[in-house]
């Protein structure tokens, strides 16, 4: 591709498990903008078994809407020929056919195995299991587990360079004994990436070379104090293209159409989150809640982490959310009574008919209650994996010496969190945007000042792959067309009795308008502030409450507006002040809904009894 030539038009598709989404980005008055989108059912499965049919259909929708032509018999027409025919760049991501499924292995569970897990997750994989010498299972149990799983590939690590080779060879012998088979391609050898102690390579080759499709890359923990995930991630992407994609129906054709390699969808979303965090210089949490899985991405302390909760989702895995959280935890977000047996049947029916949508207010509130629990569990999972390197020596100053924190503490610091970006049907398509804001506040419980946003039509995957070629275009579209800013939440940390003072907030808009609110503990308030506006905020927490500068200390900050505005969340933190008494809880939920205008109260009233 010519680096100097400015791209005029970019076509990008994301082939999801159920839907293939196409977007057209064009240079409009010198700025890249989303100009059109189309979608069609994905066609990886029988009877079609050719992913390009779905891609063609989705692109065709754009062609029809725009009155232009982007494809011919041989594929996508590149570069753009004139204003009617062709595009300059075609890209695609894919999670169809179950995405990328991996198993990882390392010598020590908390060290090399954890690093391998981070590398696989960061590359966009679902990690089916983590095998380690010290994972508590007996060798035969590990072998049985490896035999049961049919991953797309295995990433194996262990040992620092020049360290002992015995343990990592033991791991290789376990894998060799299991004779693992790949998920796709019955006659193919399973790809294994070795990213461990360089000294052990010849032994690993002798043990696994003949039985598997073995690849060697640089050690992902060359020394204890450093994690180098890049080479392993790159090899995962190469294998994803060569092996997984090449086996899936129609992908060889799709690969020949795209100008850059196809990326796994979550890998592309992660790339976009990383780009946003670095360009905006802030800590970001991104979440994508799907039907089967919930992905959480974060950038804290310049470290990117991704986790996937493979069995937390809103359709295929919805029963698992009920199983993990318990019906009572779902019901605590619901302001009316419903028979437990009825609720369980409804959740099961959503599982078996995943494409249905809530028609009544009652169904909507139940679905959003389940989403809160799925998001909460996924975030807990993320916090437990997004940690600093364990087992390393750290230098502490005298103040830190008294904090008694161990290595491997979670990197997620809610007070430092700058922005939460939500995506996935339940967040992106909530009938009122404030419902998405409330779901994210309830499940992530951010502290201090936090911007909230949603991905309007879930185009982060396409923008992620675009950012690998043209970060400028990706960023421009992300800011102008992808992100819908909901606003900023102000949430003091602390607890008190209901009605006690919590925080007073004074906001001065750019036009000089001053808005003041005094919030008591247990209340929520909404101050409208438009999407393109920022304002100066002065927040004075009451004694015992902290907004980031210590208890009772005033904080000055710039707040961003949004389609919702500025939310003062004075429900307290540590824990969130949700009453345990049912009637009190219902009263509070309704009070918060009213304060934020989250639901039409005349309709909700029908179900409140």
């Amino acid at each position: 591709m010519e680096q100097n030539r400015k791209l005029r038009s970019i076509l990008a598709t994301d082939c999801g498990s159920t839907t293939t989404k196409a977007i057209l980005i064009e240079l409009v008055d010198g700025v890249y903008r989303l100009v059109c989108r189309g979608e069609a059912p994905t066609t990886v499965e029988a009877p079609f078994e050719d992913v390009t049919m779905g891609a063609r259909n989705a692109i065709h929708e754009i062609e029809e809407l725009m009155g232009r032509t982007f494809q011919d018999e041989s594929g996508i027409i590149t570069p753009q020929r004139d204003s009617k025919v062709g595009v300059d760049l075609y890209l695609s991501t894919s999670s169809a056919g179950g995405g990328l499924q991996m198993m990882v292995a390392g010598v020590v569970k908390q060290m090399t195995a954890e690093s391998a897990q981070r590398a696989a997750l960061g590359a966009g994989a679902i990690v089916m299991d983590v095998i380690a010498i010290n994972d508590g299972r007996l060798p035969y149990q590990k072998i049985q587990r490896i035999r049961q799983l049919r991953p797309d590939m295995i990433l194996m690590s262990g040992g620092i360079d020049g360290g002992t080779v015995t343990h990592v060879v033991e791991l290789a012998e376990l894998i060799a004994a299991a004779e693992p088979r790949p998920r796709l391609g019955i006659g193919f050898n399973l790809p294994i990436i070795y990213a461990g102690n360089k000294e052990a390579r010849k032994h690993i080759q002798a043990t696994l070379g003949g039985k598997t499709d073995l690849r060697m890359v640089d050690n992902l923990r060359p020394v204890l104090e450093r994690e180098v995930l890049g080479p392993a991630r790159e090899e995962i992407h190469n294998l994803f293209m060569e092996h997984v994609m090449a086996q899936a129906p129609g992908y060889n054709k799709l690969m020949s159409w795209t100008d850059v390699p196809i990326m796994p969808t979550p890998g592309a979303v992660g790339k976009m989150i990383e780009t946003v965090a670095s360009q905006k210089k802030m800590t970001v949490v991104g979440v994508d809640i799907g039907g089967a899985t919930t992905d959480v991405f974060s950038v804290f302390a310049d470290t990117f982490n991704r986790t996937v909760s493979a069995n937390l989702g809103m359709s295929y895995s919805i029963c698992n959310v009920m199983l993990e959280s318990g019906v009572e935890n779902i019901m605590r977000w619901v302001p009316f009574d419903i028979e437990v047996a009825d609720l369980r049947n409804r959740i099961r029916n959503k599982m078996i008919r995943p494409t249905t949508i809530p028609q009544t207010m009652q169904e909507l509130i139940i679905e959003q209650a389940i989403a809160r629990e799925a998001l909460r569990w996924a975030f807990e999972h993320h916090k437990s994996l997004a940690v600093g390197l364990r087992g390393i020596q750290t230098q502490r100053d005298i103040a830190e010496a008294f904090e008694q924190t161990a290595t491997g503490a979670s990197l997620v610091d809610l007070m430092k969190l700058g922005m939460i970006v939500g995506s996935g049907g339940v967040l992106s398509h909530a009938p009122r945007r404030v419902q998405s804001a409330l779901m994210m506040l309830d499940s992530f419980v951010p502290e201090g000042f936090t911007q909230l946003a949603v991905d309007s039509i879930f185009m982060m995957p396409q923008l992620g792959v675009l950012s690998s070629v043209n970060p400028e275009a990706a960023q421009q579209v992300f800011d102008r067309d992808c992100l819908i800013r909901l606003g900023t939440a102000i949430a003091p940390v602390g607890t008190a009795k209901e009605g006690d003072d919590c925080v007073s907030v004074k906001i001065t808009t750019s036009q000089g308008k001053v808005i003041e609110r005094k919030a008591t503990y247990g209340s929520m308030h909404l101050i409208p502030l438009a999407e393109d506006e920022t304002a100066d905020a002065v927040a004075k927490p009451a004694r015992g409450f902290d907004l980031g500068r210590g208890k009772g200390h005033e904080v000055h900050a710039k707040v961003h507006g949004g389609v919702v505005g500025v939310i003062i969340d004075a429900r307290g933190r540590g824990p969130l002040g949700l009453p345990s008494d049912k009637s009190k809880r219902i009263r509070k939920l309704v009070e918060w809904y009213k304060a934020l205008d989250a639901y039409p109260m005349d309709i909700l009233g029908k179900y409140l009894g």
Binding site: S315, C319, I352, R353
Partner: protein, 372 residues
């Protein structure tokens, strides 16, 4: 977005059913194109490598990894018997011998001079793939399996548990609303597939297992009854491998829901015929629904599956979400514009005429076609 509706489950008296029968790893195909096969016929087979067993010789004999090679009595590829000496350490000029015995019958798969661990492998396990349906072999997948096809009546359910099995269909409900309780299950239902109406009860499940019925088919089941019967909860929608004696196929969903008239009428017309059923359900990539297949003897009735052409006024539908969940209706109108529903969402809707004659508004995503 003209096709923004859920394709229905196929319920038809005549269609060409094709089943791909594949081995988990390459092996030998036992039939040829044109062969007529019965459900229990083996169509392909293979040998799955036996389970490995590791023995840490270095630990047991107090040796370094590389020293193990010197004490081995068996080498890679050698067969071993349980109790046979596989390694032996000799000390004090041969006075003391410390042997290591094989814990299993098998072969030596690997001897590691690095870790001092050896891997023994049990004998290979033969695996056979059965035809599952009565039909004709239409395609050979070299070393992998076959495709079998047959004209058949096919009923796809919405959810099921339990794997592939066969039996004679016996419809015990007089109407599609009748509950399948334990009173309706008799000893003579051993080996049969018992068909009820709106609901299968927990007692009926237990009784069916007691009498040795092969399967149960009904409109719905109460969530808690199924979980109790299985002995574990269902987290994700992937079933078929449960360790249960009967296969259950639900045609409508969870709760008490009348079986669709068409489904009930077709099953009633097939009463007494042999069916192949499978409860396996997977709602994700590669959607798989449970099924009841009854091979038709009359080839003339067969037809290729007609890919759904869409919905129009009069098309029979099933409503698949509250507040009209489980109700059958016909499409009354298909307004093209978006419509604001109670939740406040703007969606594409249709109006449907319920059996009572009432006209109701439903999001198009919440109906499915009754196909066939």
């Amino acid at each position: 977005m003209a096709n923004a509706y859920t394709p229905g489950l196929l319920v038809t008296e005549s269609v060409i059913v094709r089943k791909r029968r594949r081995l988990p790893i390459p092996g030998e195909v036992m039939v040829k194109v044109g062969d007529v096969v019965r459900p229990h016929d083996v169509v392909a087979r293979t040998q799955i490598p036996g389970d490995p067993e590791t023995v840490n010789i270095a630990n047991q004999l107090g040796l370094e990894g590389e020293e193990v090679l010197e004490v081995m009595k068996k080498k890679k590829g050698d067969p071993v018997k349980k109790g046979e000496v596989i390694a032996e350490k000799v000390s004090f000029f041969g006075l003391f011998k410390t042997p290591v015995h094989s814990p299993i019958d098998g072969t030596v798969d690997n001897v590691s001079g690095v870790t001092g661990v050896i891997t023994l492998r049990r004998p290979a396990v033969p695996v056979s793939i059965l035809a599952y349906i009565h039909g004709t072999v239409s395609e050979i997948l070299p070393r992998e399996g076959v495709v079998i096809e047959t004209p058949a009546a096919l009923i796809q359910g919405i959810f099921g548990v339990g794997g592939e099995t066969q039996g004679v269909l016996e419809v015990v409900a007089k109407t599609n609303a009748e509950i399948l309780n334990s009173d309706k299950i008799k000893p003579e239902h051993k080996g049969k597939i018992v068909v009820g109406g709106s609901l299968v009860t927990a007692d009926a499940l237990k009784k069916a297992a007691q009498v040795g019925a092969a399967g149960l088919v009904a409109g719905g089941i109460i969530d808690k009854d199924l979980i109790e019967y299985l002995g574990h909860d269902i987290g994700v929608a992937i079933t078929g491998a449960e360790d249960i004696p009967i296969t259950v196929v639900l045609t409508e969903g969870f709760g008490q829901i009348n079986m669709a008239d068409k489904t009930f009428a077709l099953l009633t017309s097939l009463n007494g015929q042999v069916a192949s059923i499978n409860g396996a359900t997977q709602i994700r990539a590669g959607v798989m629904r449970p099924e009841i297949v009854v091979t038709s003897e009359d080839m003339r009735q067969s037809a290729e599956r007609d890919m759904t052409s869409g919905m129009e006024a009069g098309t029979p539908i099933r409503i698949i979400r509250e507040p009209y969940f489980g109700k059958l209706a016909t499409v009354h109108s298909l307004p093209p514009e978006l419509h604001v529903i109670e939740t406040g969402a703007k969606v594409r809707i249709l109006t449907a005429k319920l059996a009572s004659g009432e006209i109701v508004t439903i999001p198009r995503a919440n109906v499915e076609l009754i196909e066939g």
